[in-house]
């Protein structure tokens, strides 16, 4: 029951003049007290109104998904109609891997066509398992070191190396000797940690299974992709029990987080989506030794074929088709994801590619070179 009950008496029993009580109740004090109450009330009201979420939808809104840039766009213009899209380089004699990689890039204009001064280059080798290099389940550390060295030589300000392995990342990078390759060349390892992942929109809306689509928005190891302006895929060519071959497109699996174990329900749809997801600057496939059986984990030296081959490509379909036929020695017509990839690359990011998806046609037109 509010009532004005301020002391009215001008004088109290304490002596002459106003009571001490009244002295505190000047205009200043009045304004201070009413102002404080009004201020707190106003803040509370403003906070409530600002934060109000009538339907509950605002509280559940996720940050808008990120889209990956096209890492090939700046290179596209530098290609002429007659430049090769795929170069196969074989080691000969005492050639080092560095020399072989350089040889593979030469017909496409060398690393300088892909990496310019000041670029931050992300290398994505396959480091999926905790295995020694000789077992051919992870990308050859010499290939990783050679590409890092070439990038630095072309003026790259930073070379990042990343992968999201199946087994413990530290162990995988160490055992595959890619940690050592990074240390040797001055490249920076970026191991996966939960804060480095973001939701990336691979395609807007829900995937359409009738068009062999499987991924819409997915958790991606985004921090290295954001830091870099050039991305070079460094897959190893190897057998895969379910997908039949683990090649350049399958290599991007290592950029994904989330529930990757669901991918095996539609492996060819997913692999072609991975190729669709990213438009790399360049792909350099490691065919120095090839795991022919028991992939992708391998583990027996008898399963490894010494192939001495490096394949440089700006076209993932062509790269995978060639490696599957010539290194894994199988019929690419039976590799379902190649067909799906050709369907998918014709739209969207395909515009930034060369339009021609058929690797056999490349060969006919001299767009494939062996050196």
């Amino acid at each position: 029951m509010p009532q004005d009950n301020r002391p009215q008496q001008p004088a109290g029993p304490h002596g002459e003049g106003p009571r001490p009580d009244d002295q505190g109740m000047g205009r200043r004090d009045f304004l201070k007290r009413v102002g404080a109450a009004a201020g707190v009330a106003g803040l509370a009201a403003a906070g409530y109104v600002t934060l109000h979420d009538p339907t509950g939808e605002a509280g559940l809104a996720m940050p808008p998904p990120i889209r990956l840039p096209n890492y090939f766009a700046s290179v596209y213009d530098k290609f002429s109609a007659s430049d090769p899209r795929l170069v196969i380089a074989r080691t000969s004699g005492e050639q080092t891997i560095l020399e072989t990689v350089r040889k593979a890039l030469a017909p496409m204009g060398g690393i300088e066509r892909f990496v310019q001064h000041g670029d931050v280059v992300l290398l994505k080798p396959n480091v999926a398992f905790d295995r020694a290099p000789a077992l051919a389940t992870t990308t050859n550390p010499e290939v990783v070191a050679a590409v890092a060295q070439l990038c630095f030589g072309a003026g790259a300000s930073q070379v990042l190396i990343t992968d999201n392995p199946i087994e413990a990342p530290q162990n995988c990078f160490y055992k595959s000797r890619i940690t050592e390759a990074a240390q040797r060349t001055g490249a920076t390892l970026m191991l996966p940690s939960s804060s480095r992942f973001r939701d990336v929109e691979i395609r807007p809306g829900a995937p359409d299974p009738t068009r062999n689509e499987a991924l819409g928005t997915w958790q991606i190891l985004y921090e290295p992709l954001r830091a870099a302006n050039k991305v070079i895929g460094l897959p190893i060519v190897k057998d895969h029990n379910l997908a039949r071959g683990s090649l350049s497109m399958k290599n991007w699996y290592g950029l994904l987080g989330g529930r990757r174990n669901q991918f095996h329900q539609a492996i060819h749809e997913v692999i072609s989506d991975l190729g669709y997801m990213i438009s790399p600057t360049l792909v350099i496939a490691d065919g120095t030794r090839v795991l022919m059986r028991n992939g992708p984990t391998g583990g027996r030296i008898d399963d490894v074929k010494q192939a001495g081959t490096i394949v440089a490509a700006v076209d993932q379909v062509a790269c995978d088709a060639w490696c599957y036929e010539n290194l894994l020695e199988r019929d690419p017509a039976r590799l379902a994801y190649l067909e799906y990839a050709e369907q998918k690359f014709g739209e969207g990011i395909g515009e930034k590619r060369f339009g021609q998806r058929d690797w056999k046609a490349y060969r006919d037109r001299g767009l494939i070179t062996e050196v």
């Binding site: 109740m25 409530y48 995937p207």
Partner: protein, 619 residues
């Protein structure tokens, strides 16, 4: 005067205050308390699916007392950065507190009224004892520390205010701890008997909090209540408060006789403790106490009894709770498959940012399937709702739990959204989890017995459980043929090496005729290595007659295998919504069911990265 009426309408000559007429401000207060307590009882009473189905306009009212609770509004704002739906109404209480002090506590709060009433009815204090019992004690600052710890925990994503928030506590206590007892006493009045997991614990907490009033009057309100503490923080700004006129006051202390807040009206009024019950104004024999606008500050203690040390200790306690609660990994890697949340629930970590453990969803659920969790969802998830499909199953065309949820832990979904029809067809049905068969326990799968109750009750259309005929070799089903015609076989037991006697025959006359739910076959293994299988239409103890004729009449010493064919149930992972009706109706009762639902496959976590618990890539 050993005990006065709560009404204080005795005509004691010592009364001064606001006047001794028929109308007192305390009368209005008691009327308000009675009104809001009756409202609470009434709203709890109508929070039943059957009643709300007939009176849908009441749905937005049944959780209103929870929605006007500023602790719910502010703490969920800290966890979710939003104020959900009706929680905006709590602003009214907040503004009221800034103007008039903690009037909510002694005019509105039904839990406060319960404690007030208990103290009045059972407190055995003489006036002198009462005056002593209502003196402020340092322990009354504990509630501020509880509040700070809970708000700090909320800032880091764990909403624990529901453990002690008075409105959530009284709703939960009545739903889980009181109603089952009343229902037991009179199902006709209070509805069918409900069961709740660990109900005794909830009931015991209520009992303990009520009994503690006998030790310290309004123990809960003064010592524990985090909502009271929050309002105390705001009431320091209040423009009106009880004011003592020093000139009239004789310091007799009688104003403390019925002081509910223990706010020391006889000396310097503790603004944050005063519950604005007006008993002091009523009790003062000298008329020295008035409810005044902006009285001088030298007769009040403005701030709560907090110092930096207490704030830091409470803050650290709240902060320490986060790693301790989260380290178990129950919301991430060690998520328990039994944590199946009601339909419309948000993802688990988001859920724990919202759920205030009020139990409204459990109260409204028509099937009793929504149960308070123990520790399966981690220490954070105590008393949050989980589905128990041995108790009930999620009714297909019901979304009542989300309608009454005050905080959006369970969203207000529509039936169309739940079932994934109409404009929600592309999103698909909301899946609570997925059913699985325990192949050893399921009667057809493990025992070769016909059953498939689960398929029959599956409410999804088309059914998420389908059946397939499967053949199992019968026990002792391997026989030796001693004679055969085109349509009949005479069978004998197989010779058993080393055994004195063969197995007894298992055949009863015409026991292999079969019916719609079970069929019997005989598979003949010819000596040549070929086999042929035929349905049995009749049998005696040692002969079987088949439907049709053998392609090749079996010879002596050929082998005949008797086969039992039943329908086995199979889950269609694209259709199962995890409603649990199959589990509830499973015939394997009194134990783990032959079919059971786990949270794996739930849709609420879809899109949450590593916490995504969906099974299918293509949804």
């Amino acid at each position: 005067m050993t005990r006065t009426d709560m009404n204080k309408n005795d005509t004691s000559s010592t009364r001064g205050g606001t006047g001794g007429g028929l109308w007192r401000i305390t009368t209005a207060r008691i009327a308000s308390q009675a009104f809001f307590f009756a409202a609470f009882v009434g709203l709890i009473a109508v929070t039943s699916y059957v009643y709300l189905a007939d009176n849908p306009r009441l749905i937005s009212w049944v959780s209103k007392l929870l929605e006007i609770d500023p602790l719910v509004g502010i703490s969920t704002a800290l966890t979710t950065r939003t104020i959900y739906s009706g929680l905006i109404f709590s602003l009214v209480i907040l503004l009221l507190t800034i103007a008039l002090g903690r009037v909510f506590c002694n005019w509105v709060c039904p839990f406060g009224t319960l404690h007030h009433f208990t103290g009045w009815a059972f407190g055995r204090f003489t006036t002198k004892q009462r005056i002593d019992a209502n003196r402020y004690r340092p322990s009354y600052a504990i509630k501020y520390m509880i509040l700070i710890a809970m708000l700090v925990a909320a800032m880091f994503g764990s909403l624990q205010i529901g453990l002690l928030d008075p409105i959530a506590t009284i709703h939960r206590s009545v739903t889980i701890g009181v109603m089952p007892g009343l229902q037991e006493a009179s199902p006709a009045t209070f509805g069918d008997i409900r069961v709740y997991h660990l109900a005794w614990l909830v009931g015991l907490m209520l009992l303990a909090l009520v009994l503690l009033n006998l030790l310290i009057p309004r123990f809960f309100c003064r010592v524990l209540c985090p909502l009271g503490a929050l309002l105390g923080m705001f009431s320091r700004f209040s423009l009106w408060r009880v004011h003592r006129d020093k000139d009239k006051c004789t310091s007799c202390g009688l104003c403390r006789t019925h002081c509910e807040g223990a706010c020391d009206p006889d000396t310097s009024l503790r603004k944050s403790e005063c519950l604005v019950c007006f008993n002091c104004v009523d009790d003062c024999p000298h008329g020295a106490l008035k409810f005044g606008y902006l009285p001088p500050t030298d007769t009040q203690v403005t701030n709560p009894d907090l110092d930096r040390r207490k704030v830091v200790i409470a803050g650290l306690a709240g902060l320490a709770f986060i790693p301790l609660a989260k380290a178990g990994g129950k919301t991430t890697k060690d998520f328990q498959s039994s944590v199946i949340r009601p339909p419309g629930s948000v993802e688990e970590q988001e859920f724990l940012k919202r759920c205030i453990k009020c139990g409204q969803c459990m109260r409204v659920c028509p099937t009793n399937v929504v149960q308070p969790a123990a520790l399966e969802a981690g220490i954070e998830g105590l008393w949050t709702p989980v589905m128990n499909y041995r108790v009930g199953a999620c009714q297909l065309n019901c979304v009542a739990c989300g309608q009454v949820c005050p905080t959006g832990a369970i969203q207000r979904i529509s039936i169309e959204q739940k079932l994934g029809v109409g404009k929600y067809a592309a999103a698909g049905a909301i899946r609570l989890g997925m059913a699985n068969y325990d192949l050893g326990r399921c009667l057809p799968w493990g025992k070769g017995m016909p059953c498939v109750v689960c398929e029959e009750v599956c409410p999804v259309s088309p059914k998420a459980i389908y059946t397939e005929w499967r053949q199992f070799v019968m026990r002792h089903g391997k026989k030796m043929i001693t004679a055969a015609s085109a349509q009949t076989l005479t069978l004998a037991e197989m010779p058993h090496g080393g055994q004195l006697r063969p197995d007894p025959t298992v055949l009863q006359p015409n026991s292999l005729q079969g019916d719609d739910s079970q069929r019997f076959y005989v598979r003949v293994h010819h000596a040549s290595g070929t086999t042929e299988t035929h349905r049995i239409i009749a049998n005696s103890v040692d002969t079987v007659r088949i439907d049709g004729a053998f392609a090749r009449v079996p010879g002596n010493n050929d082998i005949a295998v008797l086969l039992n064919e039943v329908q086995v149930p199979i889950i269609d992972s694209a259709r199962c919504i995890g409603c649990g009706l199959c589990e509830r109706e499973c015939v394997i009762i009194g134990d783990r069911r032959g079919v059971y639902v786990t949270a794996a496959g739930e849709t609420r976590s879809h899109g949450y990265g590593e916490r995504d618990r969906s099974i299918r890539l293509i949804k």
